[in-house]
């Protein structure tokens, strides 16, 4: 009566194929999760990327480009976001005495305090949204995603 579960996951029209369907689900889940995150962080006067940078910053300071590598984005993104975090008093820019090209992104006391107050609830919220999956299923999912991620990364490295 039906080969699919119950409805075509939205995202592509014609005979997507299993891989495309899988990727479409990844896109859609990512989108829904981000919407939730945005909504949660809104009350904290933080955007999603702002919160992310906050998570990478340390009191001692981290080079901006190290953050951009970890966030898989371009340096030029971060300039503006860091500016807004500085305006809110959560991070500072400090020159690296070792290398005068780099500016270190330093978590302020206020930023560390903010993180402490937000992060546990935020992680809790993410976990709750995955309750439809059992612990074992989440673990299985993690392993599959991990393999996929490594495949994508290694194929990128070979130029």
């Amino acid at each position: 009566m039906r080969a699919r579960h119950d409805q075509t996951p939205l995202g592509f029209e014609s005979s997507p194929g299993l891989e495309v369907e899988t990727y479409t689900l990844i896109r859609q889940i990512n989108s829904l999760m981000e919407t939730h995150n945005r909504y949660d962080l809104r009350r904290e006067d933080l955007t999603v990327p702002q919160f992310q940078i906050l998570n990478y910053a340390t009191p001692e300071g981290v080079p901006l480009s190290e953050i951009s590598v970890r966030m898989l984005c371009d340096n030029s993104n971060l300039t503006g976001i860091v500016d807004r975090l500085i305006a809110k008093g959560y991070v500072e820019r400090r020159p690296d005495p070792q290398d005068r090209r780099v500016s270190l992104i330093c978590l302020t006391l206020s930023g560390a305090e903010k993180l402490r107050s937000i992060r546990p609830r935020h992680h809790e919220s993410i976990s709750q949204r995955m309750q439809k999956l059992s612990k074992h299923e989440v673990s299985q999912l993690r392993n599959l995603l991990h393999t996929l991620f490594e495949g994508l990364q290694s194929s990128d490295e070979e130029k």
Copy 2:
């Protein structure tokens, strides 16, 4: 000796927990895949969202808000992207005779031709990037993601 596979997937600093780690992988994979897609579509003079809208448009026309529901984004996003697709001649806006509020997004002949020439290669490219996973693993992954997606959607519906 090690509870984790081999390295903490980047994305959060302190004791992420399995669910957060899994979500982080979803974000990272989505990001890498989108980068590939952007690169692929670049040669076709299309952006990722432009290509997506093209996939939802039909010759008969689809209401803009139907596309935004399927793309999980706001109506207001699409206005500009559709404008650019119109400028490229791939879609048209036509008023709906039934309901004068809606404007139908219609795929032009040129747009349909473009799609025909791009889509197979694009899908092929996506499949290839997932080669690290066996057919069975992809299927397993799809099922887990599908469950997760449905859980997220239903929890959204209950306001």
